[in-house]
């Protein structure tokens, strides 16, 4: 038993740790709460369903977009989305060439969630610029000076939006300005305009001193609530267009997931059969390597909290196909060495030594491709690059380290002689 060296302990420890991470029941934290290894796979929007919106701040003749504006937009959007009470919204700015773009990702949720993109665009894409205009069209005051807004009802009991202007602050006094406006325009109509659309044109019947008022319109309660949330969050500082939206209902996504998982299992079986047919007993080593490969890769992806997307899973399946490559290169080398009359131990040593440069070079070229893909790709394509590049690294380790251990343990004595003897006959 002196072959049970430190390398085996490392591998066994890694297998144990990975199993605990991948195990959905999480056996550890049940007993040792401090050691929680509860990792749940994070499913991408293309599986779990949800909406992905790309907004772009655009220049208008009056305003040129600056980075501060984009940051302000991000804040406003955060406010709007939080008002919906979603659990895991994801809002971020893109860097580099796409610095004007902001991405909003809203996972599908049964409650409070957004059910279709039209609804999302209403909420996200609105500038929400509230203006009070005089009869001649001049802007008297804007929503910038609002302190708050909430859904309420008018004297007839129909839904309306109640608003309240701010008290004196550093720059301006919303309440006072509003008071002046109402006294100036007494008995005239003022239009309340949202994003250029007149919502209502009430007549000013008295001077309003407290800065409070309501907007009547043909609202439903939901609309009134949403509009007041928009007004509370404030207007977007610059013009924003929606550059891209992707919405996926949950039904389709889980259907995709089931199919891709099935494809993964099928790929594993096909590869296993092919190996068993071609390499007989030696295929045991590659199958063991492949199983640990999948285990390690899943554990790494889970602990990195990588989001699993459909292209990402395709990347895993593809790297599964490529992970066997290294085993094949080694097996063929060993076979050649044996054919040249070397004894089993030398053949294995030489096989690994000679196969190494081939395996190394070929994997580096794959990595170059995936790294560039990661750099340039967006969203789902990045997921593919991540799983494929991690898969390549893990497969290198598994084939050269774990596979080698197994080869030394049982390959020399049983598997190589058994397999190659059968071939010679």
């Amino acid at each position: 038993m002196r072959k049970f060296n430190w390398k085996w302990s490392v591998v066994l420890f890694m297998i144990l740790l990975s199993t605990m991470v991948v195990w959905t029941g999480d056996p550890v934290s049940k007993y040792v709460p401090a050691l929680s290894l509860e990792y749940k796979p994070q499913l991408g929007l293309d599986i779990a369903g949800g909406i992905h919106i790309v907004l772009e701040a655009v220049d208008t003749p009056e305003v040129t977009v600056e980075e501060a504006d984009v940051r302000a937009i991000e804040q406003v959007l955060r406010g709007r989305v939080d008002a919906l009470g979603l659990t895991e919204p994801n809002i971020y700015r893109l860097g580099g060439e796409a610095w004007r773009r902001i991405i909003v990702e809203l996972p599908y949720e049964e409650k409070a969630g957004i059910k279709d993109p039209a609804e999302a665009m209403e909420l996200i894409g609105k500038t929400a610029l509230l203006e009070f205009k005089a009869e001649d069209g001049t802007v008297l005051i804007t929503g910038k000076y609002l302190r708050t807004a909430r859904a309420t009802t008018d004297e007839m009991g129909s839904p309306a939006v109640g608003f309240e202007f701010d008290e004196a602050r550093a720059k301006a006094d919303g309440q006072k300005t509003f008071e002046e406006i109402t006294s100036e325009h007494l008995n005239k109509t003022i239009s309340i305009v949202l994003d250029g659309e007149v919502i209502s044109s009430p007549r000013v019947e008295s001077v309003i001193t407290g800065g409070e008022g309501i907007i009547k319109g043909n609202f439903t309660f939901d609309e009134a609530a949403r509009l007041s949330a928009l007004l509370r969050g404030g207007a977007l500082p610059v013009k924003v267009v929606i550059a891209e939206t992707r919405f996926l209902g949950p039904a389709l996504g889980y259907d995709y997931l089931k199919k891709v998982e099935f494809a993964g299992v099928a790929a594993f079986i096909l590869v296993a059969l092919f190996m068993a047919f071609n390499y007989k007993y030696l295929s045991i080593i590659s199958m063991f390597s492949l199983s640990t490969f999948l285990l390690f890769l899943m554990a790494i992806l889970l602990s990195l909290k990588a989001t699993l997307t459909i292209p990402g899973i395709a990347g895993i399946v593809l790297s599964l196909g490529m992970a066997v490559d290294a085993s094949i290169i080694i097996f063929e080398r060993i076979r050649e060495e044996v054919m040249q009359g070397r004894n089993v131990r030398t053949a294995i040593n030489n096989g690994y030594k000679k196969a190494f440069s081939t395996i190394f070079d070929s994997n580096v070229t794959t990595l170059i491709g995936t790294l560039i893909l990661y750099q340039f790709g967006t969203g789902p394509v990045r997921g593919f690059a991540v799983t494929l590049s991690l898969g390549t690294l893990v497969s290198l380790f598994v084939t050269l380290f774990v596979g080698r251990l197994l080869m030394d343990a049982v390959g020399i004595k049983y598997l190589v002689p058994l397999t190659l003897k059968m071939r010679r006959q």
């Binding site: 790309v54 772009e56 060439e97 796409a98 279709d116 993109p117 039209a118 665009m121 894409g125 267009v241 929606i242 550059a243 891209e244 939206t245 992707r246 996926l248 209902g249 039904a251 389709l252 259907d255 199919k259 891709v260 494809a263 099928a266 790929a267 096909l270 590869v271 092919f274 190996m275 459909i310 292209p311 395709a314 399946v317 593809l318 196909g321 490529m322 066997v324 490559d325 094949i328 290169i329 063929e332 081939t358 070079d361 070929s362 580096v364 070229t365 794959t366 990595l367 170059i368 491709g369 995936t370 560039i372 893909l373 340039f376 790709g377 969203g379 789902p380 394509v381 593919f384 494929l388």
Partner: protein, 315 residues
């Protein structure tokens, strides 16, 4: 078996396939206006997938959507998950935000039992950026790999690998053009994976050439290459087959949406195996023969004129 002496045959086969690819692309361009069936990721536009009860026909849906007056609409029906429902794909050109909302509300108002399964809209600026990035990524990948192979092997090896790689990319693009698969952003992933894999495959053979050149330094280069191809034949085929099996599984059992992706990869893997065995190495032989010929002509010149003293110039 002497594979190298038939190098013209191998190159001819590739020549024919490349010509066919070019023809498919050209035909696609003449017939549909675009060599490849570019999806909304590249062209911009929107696509909505809805589920309706199965008694509703394609023309009914088309009529209602045309009533909304949103421009050139393509409606296509695909089978749903159960017999009672049917999916419809509605494609439109780039729409303004209001129009998308209008389209969806129109659908929701016109049909009773409708579910919007999927709705995607890509504006024109995103498509343009994606196209630019795809080209930049491809060029960058080629340059990096070229440097790496030159460093690890030799410059001619790098040229041979890159030419074989371009061969694979052209053939794959041609196959995608032939079957009119819709090409979206995963296409970039297909091409870059292909780049990595095709080079990896070529490296397996070239690595053998490098090794054999050291072992049998006196032997003719074409013999060394032939020997290397034969030695790495099983290996090349087997490594490709396992990967192709994985891709095949995704193609057959995976979601239909991933099909263009796995199809492209599959074609790329097959042509990549062919090119690494029969193209990259043949190109190396041709390069070597050309060099030797040039060297002989040079040597003859030197012999003929005798006036210049022999130089040690490396050719």
């Amino acid at each position: 078996m002497d594979l190298v002496s038939r190098k013209k045959t191998w190159l001819l086969i590739s020549g024919i396939v490349i010509t066919l690819s070019a023809l498919f692309l050209f035909a696609g361009w003449r017939i549909t206006g675009s060599p490849l069936n570019l999806g909304i990721d590249f062209t911009g536009g929107s696509i909505v997938e809805i589920s309706l009860t199965s008694d509703i026909s394609e023309s009914q849906v088309r009529e209602i959507i045309q009533g909304l007056k949103i421009g050139n609409v393509i409606v296509q029906s695909i089978p749903g998950d159960t017999a009672q429902e049917k999916h419809f794909l509605i494609r439109t050109p780039v729409l303004t935000q209001e129009k998308v909302v209008e389209l969806e509300n129109g659908i929701k108002d016109s049909f009773k039992e409708v579910t919007i399964l999927r709705s995607e809209m890509v504006g024109p600026t995103i498509g343009a950026m994606l196209r630019r990035q795809a080209v930049a990524a491809l060029i960058l990948a080629l340059v990096f790999i070229m440097f790496y192979i030159t460093w690890r092997f030799d410059f001619p090896f790098a040229v041979a690998t890159i030419l074989a790689l371009m061969h694979d990319v052209i053939v794959t693009v041609g196959a995608l053009a032939l079957f009119r698969f819709e090409i979206n952003s995963p296409f970039v992933a297909v091409i870059l994976t292909l780049v990595g894999y095709s080079v990896m495959d070529s490296v397996v053979v070239l690595d053998r050439v490098r090794e054999n050149r050291k072992l049998h330094s006196g032997t003719a280069f074409s013999k060394i290459v032939n020997m290397s191809i034969l030695q790495s034949f099983r290996r090349s085929i087997n490594t490709s087959v396992t990967t192709i099996l994985a891709v095949l599984a995704i193609f057959i059992f995976g979601p239909i949406a991933v099909r263009p992706f796995s199809f492209g990869l599959g074609v790329g893997l097959i042509t990549g195996t062919y090119s690494s065995l029969f193209i990259a190495s043949m190109l190396l032989v041709i390069w070597q023969e050309w060099r030797e010929k040039r060297f002989r002509t040079y040597a003859r010149k030197v012999n003929e004129s005798r006036k210049t003293r022999p130089t040690k110039r490396k050719t």
